[in-house]
């Protein structure tokens, strides 16, 4: 998704809002609402994660940790300590933001594989702690969560949650699009394009990386808290390494550096396993195949590949074909004399 973001931005946002609004006309029963809600929650996480992975060029294999901390934090404060659910969620989200800030600086000094492994280690430590501290978290059996009550009204039922989550998804996409089309967003994308070039343009790499890391963690924590109160239950599987991988797969499958791609990826990969529940045994095989296949055949992801395909079909060539310049620069290539 290049250049003019004005049109995709307002147009895409309107389209998304329209899809959400039209949903109830199309979804036949509560089961479908449930899938839609889960897809939207995943989409919120993925929109944030995409800011980190797709736009800023970082990676996190531990984001289920942030999701899970948002979920468990809110669940524990509300169910075990009787906090009002909104306050519990707010507290959990704040705690996750603080944790992401603290851990962000040292972790984001790393690059590539090392960064991947550090985030993975971090995510696993969280999942192990959650599984072990069973007095607090209910351990492997999970924890029951009180419903979300706002000023005495309990938010319950698929249809009510659908509207809340749908609205929040549109809001999340709006925030993400705003961020991308701003000096901060350009700074992040510049870091991805060339960290050296960004540095000499005055961009503080460390500060920006931590910023986007915290933002993506907050998105995940929000979705986690909502998930806990919606489902009425939370288990350690939501904090697991596998969940982290699923999230990354959704982002990568949908399209890196494409907010709508993240939404699409989350939707497809939430709906797909539901379609496959008949073939429950093949779930892992299909997930693994999808991951490998996407990266090999469609490395840019679903939405950018489709967009490029449609762009070619339209035949509109914006710029004339040009000679390949010599010495293609790579991100971070060192200038030497």
């Amino acid at each position: 998704m290049r250049a003019r973001l004005a049109t995709p931005r307002t147009g895409g946002l309107a389209a998304l809002a329209a899809v959400v609004a039209v949903g109830p006309l199309v979804l036949p029963n509560n089961y479908f609402y449930d899938v839609a809600i889960l897809a939207a929650l995943n989409a919120i996480v993925c929109v944030g994660l995409n800011l980190l992975i797709g736009y800023s060029g970082q990676i996190s294999l531990g984001h289920a940790g942030f999701f899970g901390l948002g979920a468990y934090g809110s669940a524990i404060l509300a169910s075990k300590y009787g906090w009002p659910p909104l306050a519990a969620m707010a507290m959990a989200i704040t705690a996750v933001a603080a944790l992401a800030y603290l851990i962000g600086r040292p972790i984001l000094r790393l690059r590539g594989h090392y960064l991947a492994m550090a985030t993975l280690g971090f995510g696993i430590i969280i999942s192990l702690v959650v599984a072990n501290e069973d007095r607090l978290t209910g351990g492997p059996d999970g924890l029951a969560v009180v419903p979300l009550t706002v000023f005495g009204f309990a938010l319950q039922g698929e249809r009510a949650w659908y509207w809340v989550v749908g609205a929040l998804l549109v809001a999340a996409v709006w925030l993400a699009l705003n961020l991308i089309d701003s000096p901060t967003g350009r700074a992040l994308r510049a870091l991805h394009g060339s960290e050296v070039g960004a540095g000499v343009a005055g961009i503080d790499a460390a500060r920006h990386k931590v910023l986007v890391f915290v933002v993506s963690a907050v998105f995940a924590a929000v979705a986690g808290g909502l998930n806990a109160h919606y489902a009425g239950f939370i288990t350690p599987s939501k904090v697991s390494f596998l969940h982290s991988i699923e999230l990354v797969t959704m982002v990568v499958f949908g399209g890196m550096a494409s907010t709508f791609g993240a939404v699409a990826g989350a939707t497809v990969l939430t709906v797909l396993p539901q379609l496959l529940t008949v073939f429950k045994d093949y779930e892992m095989v299909v997930l693994g195949a999808v991951m490998m296949g996407t990266m090999i055949f469609m490395p840019k992801g679903l939405v950018p590949t489709l967009a490029a395909f449609l762009g070619r079909q339209a035949g509109a060539a914006r710029t004339p074909a040009v000679e390949r310049r010599a010495g293609a620069p790579g991100a971070g290539a060192e200038p030497r004399a």
Partner: protein, 300 residues
């Protein structure tokens, strides 16, 4: 407890933890070696490494269960795993050569999930046992009680390490692989086929993983998801010792195994698995190159 008796009991306890630690550490070392070999040949972290361990153990267990003697089941299981490794390289890694790091990471993670799913279909989700190689009568050794299988694990690992040292140091093929890891372009210029080296690296790593799985299955049992933690901890060991370094992989594996065992014994057994990842994070934060660090993976 009286002073001398107390000390003796303590040292017996310590010896026991060390014995466990070294046994487990040997397995981590084999997995870490697998990571390092592939990393050296291609710069790729093979997240499916743990699955090689699983396939080796599960294949051997099912072959033995179907009536084959151990002596036949083991080489067949290693061969099957090696084939899986070669297939992985040809079908998933080679088509994506030159892709950015994130892409390769997703591919090998996808491969590990795929292989695990395949395992549940070919076999099942239950635990499987492999008979111990030479009986289960515990032996007293330096104040600790060990099962004979532990000696097999440590002894076989030592033999494998020596064999690898000979392979990389003395044979043409091994030296070619080593050359590729040091400077791919130069290796190509002297006629070494980097594609073949990569192919072989995966095969070799798969075999190493399989052996780790087979050696340890009699002690820890095996199942479709035994590779997940083993793979991750093996990777932690590789980073601890220095990614890309053979001696580092061995040292890192042993050190991790011992630290894990000691902390499980003296600190908290519930958090046994956490120690590996805490060490991983500590190494990455403080000194990513590890103990025997080769060049830093990402140049600034």
């Amino acid at each position: 407890m009286s002073g001398a008796g107390g000390a003796l009991a303590m040292s017996g306890e310590l010896a026991q933890y060390l014995a466990t630690g070294i046994t487990v550490g040997a397995v981590y070392a084999l997995v870490a070696l697998g990571f390092s070999i592939i990393y050296n040949a291609s710069g790729v972290i093979n997240f499916a490494q743990g699955e090689f361990v699983m396939i080796g153990g599960m294949s051997a267990a099912s072959l033995v269960a179907s009536g084959l003697p151990l002596g036949l089941a083991i080489p067949l299981a290693v061969a099957a795993t090696t084939l899986a490794g070669l297939a992985l390289e040809k079908l998933a890694v080679e088509p994506a050569r030159g892709a950015p790091v994130v892409t390769l990471i997703i591919i090998t993670i996808g491969a590990s999930i795929f292989l695990r799913g395949l395992a549940t279909i070919v076999w099942d989700k239950k635990l499987h046992a492999l008979p111990a190689f030479s009986g289960e009568q515990p032996i007293a050794l330096f104040g600790a009680t060990v099962v004979p299988q532990s000696l097999w694990v440590v002894g076989a690992t030592a033999a494998i390490v020596v064999a690898l040292w000979w392979f990389f140091g003395r044979t043409r093929l091994g030296k070619a692989m080593l050359a590729t890891s040091h400077n791919r372009l130069a290796a190509q210029l002297v006629g070494i086929s980097v594609r073949h080296v990569l192919f072989l690296a995966f095969g070799l790593s798969a075999a190493l993983g399989a052996l780790a799985g087979i050696l340890t299955a009699p002690i820890t049992l095996t199942s479709y998801d035994v590779g997940v933690m083993l793979g991750l901890k093996g990777f932690a060991a590789a980073i601890l010792g220095g990614l890309g370094s053979g001696p580092g992989a061995v040292a890192g594996g042993l050190l991790l195994g011992i630290l894990e065992s000691l902390s499980a014994g003296y600190v908290s057994s519930a958090y046994k698995d956490v120690i590996a990842f805490v060490i991983l994070l500590a190494v990455l934060f403080v000194s990513p190159r590890g103990i025997f660090g080769v060049a830093a993976a990402e140049r600034v």
